[in-house]
Symmetry: C2
Subunit: 416 residues, 2 copies
């Protein structure tokens, strides 16, 4: 097994040299071939998925995880639609992002190039296999995939079809390699392939990401958790605030950009909290509050210290009454996960101060945190949402899957 | 000692929150105060430096390293000049690098913000202490410095003066912390402070950098070695090629952008190599060649296999006769360190192919590799030269010491 991970990483590195110089036309032809292969083999994909679902049932996998694992004809078509969307996006490779002519006549351009060999580590959703491969290939990167064990049969089938497509257009199979060992030793081995991999992008639980950051000698772009806040300022439009917190908490509670915390200025707490929390409770949300909140909201339970830094990913919200804007900013910077945080206010100065001082990947004034997303931000695609500060922060699209190089044109210049 | 590293990293993180929101005016006032403190205390700096030099003499430190360690009044003035140059540079923080208005009315801006808490690990030169601190502070970052043990007294004195300057302008001392323990355990401890440090930037030997990459749980921006190539194509202007290889090899052989390899197209080798190598030999350069080179160049010795991947940092060059452009590109991508590589050619098509296919931080046509440098590239400053692909590649200036955040203005938008 160990030998196999090493060999696959090497194969990806070698194939990356071919992709590095492949034209946009060639890469789009490949994505089209992937679409054809998948659409031409829906029954066999569903059959492989059925195997995974049977194993999941036997293992007693939770309903949520089983749903993530499940493919249907419609979901396969959505997956293929995603690839078609990526085909339409402009190729970032070769784009000159900066250009300067120096006094000595040197023309210096900064040009986007592929990262090279990308490792993706993800959990249960099999659509990530196709999605991540398509994004990496379009941006000229070869990719080593390592999906969750629950989806192993589905993933193997999808990768076989992608590799058939590589063959169809005459690109090496190493452009997409898949680690079919499901034990954690294989991940550990993958994390030591710094001779071959340029970056590893983990998508999954905080625990998985922590494991990867601790053990990887390959640079990591972490997609961490979202402990997102909505702060309702004293001057907020309270109806707007109610809509925003309801949307941020309830519309899709299982995702990283859902709100987990509600902070409310003390001067409007007695007016705002009862009505906002009533609506949240009607939608099934459990309210955990500080003492001030408990005095205002029926049925709220006392929040524990650890609740303030927790990502619930569920219909739970922790609510705190706050003295002023400064305390709100401090609370968010201290307990938050630096993902997405919003203020609701009619005071422009307060809004600007919040935007400036809250140190998160995305900061909002008067909008739901749920917009932190590659599609919503207009990137046209998304490989994930980075919560670290290096290389890419926030939603990552095709450009974030590239590096740059300096391209210098001279006429014989030498250094004095 | 362990406790001390941890406490200093925490102190830097806390101070970074203050710097994050400090105005350009405040930061420039700080840099001016640093200039004043240093200029006002030259004798005590030289005294501290004298201690280090005495210890170096007693330990039998090499001439090169002793020279790097040595401060003089003139060198201190140059150091201060560097800080004055940084004051004049525009503050990258707050700059909007991208802006989009979405169909739903959301205004999304991508804005430069400080990285936060930066760790710098460097070796003998004490000027790096002031230089790195000034660059980090100007870009709004607090910094944890760990310099080489040889310069410990000089560094401590310089840091004391910087911290006096912080006090003068009313910024917390944690903006610049210095690890005064000289053992490697302190570095190891620093590399585990991912709770506090946002990035570690190592500058030094390949061995040091490898140690850091292997052991760090903090993201690293590696400043690796430069095994740089000059390839002389069949259509090259041979006089130009001679000037370029002479400059790239001889002008400053101890730096990472100096050429270590000369590749020559076989059709011009017999004309070019004798004259180019004669001149190199006259400058004291040792020629290590393949068999074809040995037949053409008097006094050349046979290159070993390992020579092709070696960074000599000395008056040594390895020379190889190459069949064609494709082989040259393959050789460079295989044996090079992806730092800086040049082609000399009059054939535009060959030049463009080389620029496109050589996967290095800087690629040149008809110019010396010695230009890979923050000042030569017009960045106005340089914290180092990154040889990795994530975040920053090539010379790193102030902008490369920043991250971004998405700043979103809404009017009550919620996700559908």
């Amino acid at each position: 097994m160990r030998g196999s991970v090493w060999r696959k990483a090497k194969s990806v590195k070698e194939a990356s040299a071919v992709l590095y110089n492949s034209s946009s036309k060639k890469k789009d032809a490949l994505l089209k071939a992937i679409v054809s292969q998948i659409l031409g083999h829906i029954p066999s994909i569903l059959e492989a998925n059925k195997k995974d679902l049977n194993a999941a049932a036997a293992a007693g996998l939770s309903e949520v995880l089983t749903d993530r694992l499940t493919l249907t004809e419609k979901r396969i078509e959505q997956m293929v639609g995603g690839v078609n969307d990526i085909i339409k996006l402009p190729d970032p490779v070769g784009k000159v992002v900066d250009k300067t002519k120096r006094p000595n006549g040197l023309l210096i351009e900064k040009m986007r190039v592929p990262l090279g060999a990308v490792g993706i580590i993800y959990e249960s959703r099999p659509n990530v296999t196709v999605d991540a491969a398509a994004l990496c290939l379009k941006s000229g990167n070869a990719v080593l995939l390592r999906g969750g064990s629950e989806a192993i049969n589905t993933n193997k089938r999808l990768v076989a079809l992608i590799r058939q497509a590589l063959n169809d257009v005459g690109l090496p199979p190493g452009c997409v390699e898949f680690i079919d060992s499901t034990d954690r030793g294989a991940v550990l081995e993958m994390l030591k392939q710094d001779a071959y991999l340029d970056v590893v992008i983990p998508r999954g639980s905080q625990q998985l990401i922590r494991f990867i950051q601790t053990n990887s000698t390959v640079p990591v772009i972490a997609h961490g958790e979202g402990n997102c806040h909505v702060y309702v300022d004293r001057s907020a439009d309270l109806s707007m605030a109610e809509e925003i917190i309801f949307n941020a908490k309830v519309q899709r509670p299982s995702v990283c950009n859902a709100a987990e915390k509600l902070l409310v200025h003390e001067s409007i707490a007695s007016e705002f909290l009862p009505r906002a929390c009533r609506r949240l409770k009607e939608a099934g949300v459990e309210i955990r509050g500080d003492k001030e909140t408990l005095a205002l909201v029926d049925g709220a339970v006392l929040a524990t210290d650890s609740d303030w830094s927790k990502e619930f990913l569920d219909l739970i919200i922790a609510v705190k009454v706050i003295k002023n804007l400064e305390d709100a900013i401090q609370h968010i910077n201290r307990y938050g996960s630096h993902h997405s945080d919003a203020i609701v206010t009619r005071n422009t100065k307060n809004g600007e101060r919040f935007l400036r001082e809250v140190d998160s990947a995305a900061v909002y004034v008067n909008a739901s945190t749920r917009f932190t997303d590659g599609f919503e931000f207009g990137l046209g695609a998304e490989i994930g949402i980075s919560t670290q500060k290096l290389h890419a922060r926030g939603p990552m699209g095709l450009e974030e899957l590239t590096s740059t190089k300096y391209v210098v044109h001279g006429k014989g210049q030498v250094r004095k």
